[in-house]
Structures are given as structure tokens and as C-alpha cells.
Amino acid sequence: MRKTLGMAALAAVLAGGAQAQSTADEIAKYREMIADGNPAELFEMEGESLWKTPRGPKKATLEQCDLGQGPGVVDGAFARMPRYFADTGRVQDLESRLLTCMETLQGIPASAVVDGDWNKGERKTMDALAAYVVTHSRGQKIQLDLANPQTRRMYELGKRAFYYRSGPMDFSCSTCHGEDGKRIRLQDLPNLTHKEGAIAAWGSWPAYRVSNSQFWTMQHRLNDCFRQQRTAEPEFASEVTVALSVYMAATAQGGVLQTPGLKR
């Protein structure tokens, strides 16, 4: 340890900021050490079991759920989401599409999730289902259908929402996520306006968070960003949240998904 500190001190004399770099290297090593054996796998297992379990008033499974690749096709579905669905006439992200499937196939009303609390009841079910679906797009390229006019419209809406300032602190998403090199404490913040940052973010959510042992969907992640802006929290799976996801995913187009992720 003394050696490390000595070297860091020397480096700090030679070049300011070198110590921060060595800390970042050590944290990168820490993240690498915990990457194998992501507890998100436990949620994925639960999700797979829930997917195949008859539930709701209709006592049906989700095995006929159409995530865009045809009924029952899970593999690669998340890599192409959000996408436009003709049957609902809407662009849907994974969570809003799962709501559709739960409602139509199982008879579970969307309100059970939309009006619910995080980490409880059907919202918790949603976490596990999302973990299951995204695992089956891990390693695949993000490929949104940007030729679709509805998806284009949502992209433009998402971009506007990203730069829209609100709340008592007059923050927008771009306040924290619109420039390189920003961080909160030791946590680096991705620049979501560039491909690299967007891939780092969109490509690693949903994720297991070691700080609270919870699995968070992108809906949960986005909601918490709004909460931290001290502004009105969006409704679960509302248009603005889907639009922001389209903006992020489109910016990350072509990047490889590492879902589900593992976060601090």
C-alpha cells in the first residue's frame, strides 16, 4: 500500500490528475472483479419462471407475448426496442410492451404496475421479466428501426425532453449527461449525446445495483433521474419515458448490449 501511495504522490508531482487516474484504474479493476456472477442472474431466473407461469385472471403465461419478433420470440427482441407496434399503434419500450402482454394475455391491468410502488407487487414482477428478456439480447447489436416515422417522431420528442429544463433547480437531463468528463462523487456520468456514452448507458441497463441489492429497469432509472432533478416524476411507461429511451437507444445505435448490467 505504501508503495502505491508513494507512486501516486510522485505521479501527482509530475502531472496533476494522475492520482485520479490511478483511482479510476483501481475502480475499473474492482468492477471487473465483480462482473462475473452478476446477481442480476437471480432476477433473470425468476423472470423466466414468471414468463412460463400461468398468472392473472386469464391464467395464461407470457409465452405468446409478441415483443416485435413474433409471438414467443424473446431472443434479440430487446436489441430492437423501443419499436413501433401496429397492434397498439404506439412506439413501445420493453416495459410498456410487457404491460400490453400482461393485460391482453393474462388480464392483469396495466394499472397494477403503473399505479404500483417500486420493488413491490407487479412492478417487481416487471423487474424480473425485464431481466429475463434483456439477457436474451446480451451481446447483440442495438438496431432500432429509425426509418419508421413513428420512431423518428419519438426520437425528436425524446431529444426535446432531454434538453428540457424544469423543476426548482432548472435542470435538464443534459445538465448532467450532455458533456464529457462529468461525475457525481466518484461516479462517472455518461455523455448521452454521443455514441460512446449512449452505448455505455443504454447498453448496460436494466441493471443490478450493489448499493441496494435491487434490480432496476430503465423505467426505474429514468424515474430516479427526474426525482434527482427535483422535478415531477413521470408516469410509468409514459410517452416521455419511451421517447427518452428512443433518443438514448438511437444514439447508441450499432453498439453492443451488455444487459443486464451491474451498477454501484
Binding site: G37, E41, L42, M45, V210
Partner: protein, 103 residues
């Protein structure tokens, strides 16, 4: 209610490497809830891993093992298709036993 474990086992260079993820709160007994009341300790105390019928690892945990515990170890021998069984008990008497085949 205890959820299933994820057990992965694979043969490499004459050893079988076993990786286990357990679903457990691993509550330390030192934490307070939002009303200020102490959350009682709840954690896995003992774990055993077997290859076919032979014990290949015994472990005892305290509450400072992380939530949703991870464990990896390796033993000599083992062949593709052999059965690995991992069982645990916690301090409240709950238990769980799951198995996997060596890949």
C-alpha cells in the same frame, strides 16, 4: 420464501469450477428501517456443496457476506453431466437445495 440458486459448473484442466449465486437478504442485524427499528439479522449460516455424493466444500457464513451471496471454488475431477448439489440453511431455519449438471 427462498428463491432458487444459480449454480454453474464446468470442467477445466482437470478441475471442476463451481460458481454459485444465492438469493438471500443477508441482513446484518445492524441496520435500521425507515421507522428507526432495528432490522433483525437474517443470513445464511451454513452451506454444503456435493459432487455426486461426495462433499466438495463446506462453508459457514456470517452476516457480513454480501446480499445475494456469490461463491466460487474448484475441485479435482468431475465429468460433464455429473451432478452438483448445493444446500444452505439460514439463522431462521429456512433452507434451500438446488442442483446443476457439470457443463
Amino acid at each position: 420464501m427462498a428463491n432458487p440458486m444459480r449454480i454453474r459448473a464446468a470442467v477445466k484442466d482437470g478441475f471442476t469450477e463451481v460458481r454459485v449465486l444465492m438469493s438471500h437478504v443477508m441482513e446484518t442485524g445492524q441496520r435500521k428501517d425507515s421507522s428507526g427499528a432495528l432490522v433483525p439479522a437474517h443470513f445464511i449460516t451454513e452451506l454444503t456443496a456435493k459432487h455426486n455424493d461426495k462433499v466438495v466444500l463446506l462453508a459457514q457464513f456470517g452476516p457480513s457476506v454480501s446480499t445475494n451471496p456469490y461463491l466460487s471454488f474448484k475441485f479435482q475431477g468431475g465429468a460433464k453431466g455429473d451432478k452438483i448439489v448445493v444446500s444452505w440453511v439460514d439463522n431462521k431455519g429456512d433452507s434451500r437445495s438446488d442442483e446443476a449438471l457439470i457443463a
